[in-house]
Amino acid sequence: MNAPAKPTVTILAALNKALSDACSEDEKVILLGEDLADPEGGGIVGVTRGLSSKFGDDRVRSTPIAEQAIMGAAIGASLAGYKPVAEIMLMNFTTVAMDMIVNHAAKLRFMSGGQTHVPIVIRTMTGLGYGSGGQHCDYLEAWFAHVAGIKVVAASTPEDAYGLLRSAIEDPDPVLIIENLPTYYTPMSHELPDSSHRVPLGKAAIQREGSDITVVTYARMANETRNAAAKAAEAGVSVEVIDLRTIAPWDRETVLASVRKTGRLLIVHEAVREHGVGAEIAAVVNEELFGELKMPVRRLGGAFAPVPYSKPLEDAFAPNAARILECITQCVN
């Protein structure tokens, strides 16, 4: 018997192919961001590697360090019929471009009464684990989820990374894609997705079926939760794992149906727990399933602190498989 072949395909490769396929299929797709083009290395982690060589440096442009200018250029080009994919290198750097994203990209369709719209994608990245400290690892998805007019997605597998990015580019409204630094490089799949593969925005994935408790999560925490769920199964606890994939608007139907079935809900994200997206999900589930729950909705999230530098502190900041498992065990007992 042969050992099963090792997976080789990473989220990084899937994103790169998604951008490449989108550029090939639609000449209106254009890319911009710091160090994005090949003379600058094709992006600091290489998501856009090879694309400026393939599609020309008119369509794939490195920019000065100027996030407001980057976002403005994307918005303007989208108003003139293009589908820009703008990279804001790290999520913390969205803080210098919030005006463009929130006051303009998210609102122009509404404020123009539908005369214009802003079909842009904003790719950004975050993630702890590398000792980058307080200004490079924030998880700000709750900010954007609170803003009407922009969608927010995050993938935890190469297939979803590909399918969500393709759907985001085709979506007629602005979409923020949150990539996660430590998950870029893990080989997870055997084949790169086909160019027809799409993941519809607004649809969660039930990554594992279960009957005792539902865990709703996304991004890197989905991986940790899958690991925790596997361990829980060994102990006889059946965990349903839902990866939201689209954080806003989130898939209420799938989540409610699952919790209706299991009667228990735990929400897990790396973002600071307080006022994180888990709060909204907990509020809605409590409202919709009042009296049907076997336990109060629980949330695991990042500590109420800036992301710290030192390894033991960084390790303590966010949930991980062990803590998720511990919490699941508490919940079902």
Binding site: I30, D58, R59, R61, T63, P64, A66, Q68, A69, M71, G72, A73, A74, I75, G76, A77, S78, L79, A80, G81, Y82, P84, V96, D99, M100, N103, H104, L108, R109, F110, M111, S112, G113, G114, Q115, T116, H117, A148, G149, K151, D171, P172, D173
Partner: protein, 329 residues
């Protein structure tokens, strides 16, 4: 300052006057309508600044695109924003260009290239760059214009935009309407350096300060900048010196402006000055101009009437235009 290549001919000057007359009459009507209580709105009068966009727009085509600001109805009207859709939007009606959702600070009318109106100081410029990038990609010779004020020149977005436009050689014209006040604050007090135009050199971009109230001078600068942009030679910064005759917004008595400064500005009101020049130069007669002005008044009458007799939006409209798909209740 005007090179011979860009001297406006008689027809162009008359065209510019037609626009200024429309702008002036429209501003006066808006203030009248607000005062009468017929329409309530936030309003930033541009009275005194009419020549800047009129001369600029005389150099522009419908497919050239504009990003302007809350004090921008003059920019839009000069560029061809239709009066009915304008007034209906000011009145918050469904027949307004933005269905009443945008209002005076967010007017939009793409068929005439009026793409963005922003209430955020400085934010017109980054978006204009994107319009310019699209023109480049389209291999079109259309241009993008960003207008903003003297106060806006000190905010980060303007700096980032001018640098990017210079580096990418974008077909963008940055028009700073220097009316010497930013809200209640005098230009001199908050601006390092003598002129805004001088900052262009720091980006390796041509920058020019002109008397924006002088149709000939403003036209020459605009025409040159537009020609440069159409030829693929990159952006220009025009600092157009002008003045506003009213407070920052309707209701602001403007007490921070010294009386003599205001009196001198009004004595040099650019609209009657241009009118007088047309007559003195034999470009138009008093009768011709009066009939243009009368036609404008009639057109405005009609637009106001259209606006106030149009239907109001209803609460359910909030579910639409947030996304392409409607928002469930």
């Amino acid at each position: 300052m005007a090179t011979n290549a860009y001297v406006p001919g008689a027809e162009t000057l008359l065209d510019i006057y037609r626009r200024t007359a429309l702008l002036k009459a429209n501003d006066e009507r808006i203030r009248k309508v607000i005062t009468s209580g017929k329409i309530a709105m936030v309003y930033y009068s541009y009275r005194g600044q009419e020549v800047v966009p009129s001369a600029l727009s005389a150099c522009l085509r419908d497919d050239d695109q504009l990003c302007t600001i809350y004090r921008g109805i003059h920019d839009m009207l000069a560029k061809g924003f239709p009066l009915k859709e304008l007034w209906a939007e000011l009145a918050g009606r469904t027949t307004g260009s933005c269905k009443g959702k945008g209002g005076p600070m967010h007017l939009t009318f793409p068929p005439k290239g009026i793409m963005v109106t922003t209430g955020i100081v400085g934010s017109s410029a980054p978006i204009a760059n994107g319009l310019g990038w699209a023109a480049q990609l389209d291999k079109s010779d259309r241009v993008a214009v960003a207008t903003f004020g003297d106060g806006a020149s000190n905010i980060g977005a303007i700096h980032e935009s001018m640098n990017l436009a210079a580096v990418w050689k974008l077909p963008v014209i940055f028009v700073c309407q220097n009316n010497l006040y930013a809200e209640h604050t005098a230009y001199k007090k908050m601006t390092g350096g003598e002129t805004i135009a001088a900052r262009a050199a720091g980006y390796g971009m041509p920058g020019i300060r002109v008397n924006g109230n002088d149709a000939v001078e403003m036209y020459a600068a605009a025409a040159e900048a537009v020609a440069r942009a159409r030829a693929g030679e990159g952006p220009t910064l025009i600092e157009a010196m002008t003045f506003r005759f009213h407070g920052h917004n309707f209701g602001d008595p403007g007490e921070y402006i010294p009386k003599e400064e205001m009196a001198a500005a009004i004595a040099n009101d650019p609209v009657p000055a241009l009118r007088a020049k047309l007559i003195a130069d034999g470009i138009a007669t008093e009768i011709q101009l009066a009939s243009i002005e009368a036609a404008i008044e009639a057109e405005i009458d009609e637009a106001v009437e259209f606006a106030v007799s149009s239907p109001w939006p209803v609460a359910d409209d909030l579910r639409f235009d947030v996304f392409a798909e409607e928002i469930a209740r």
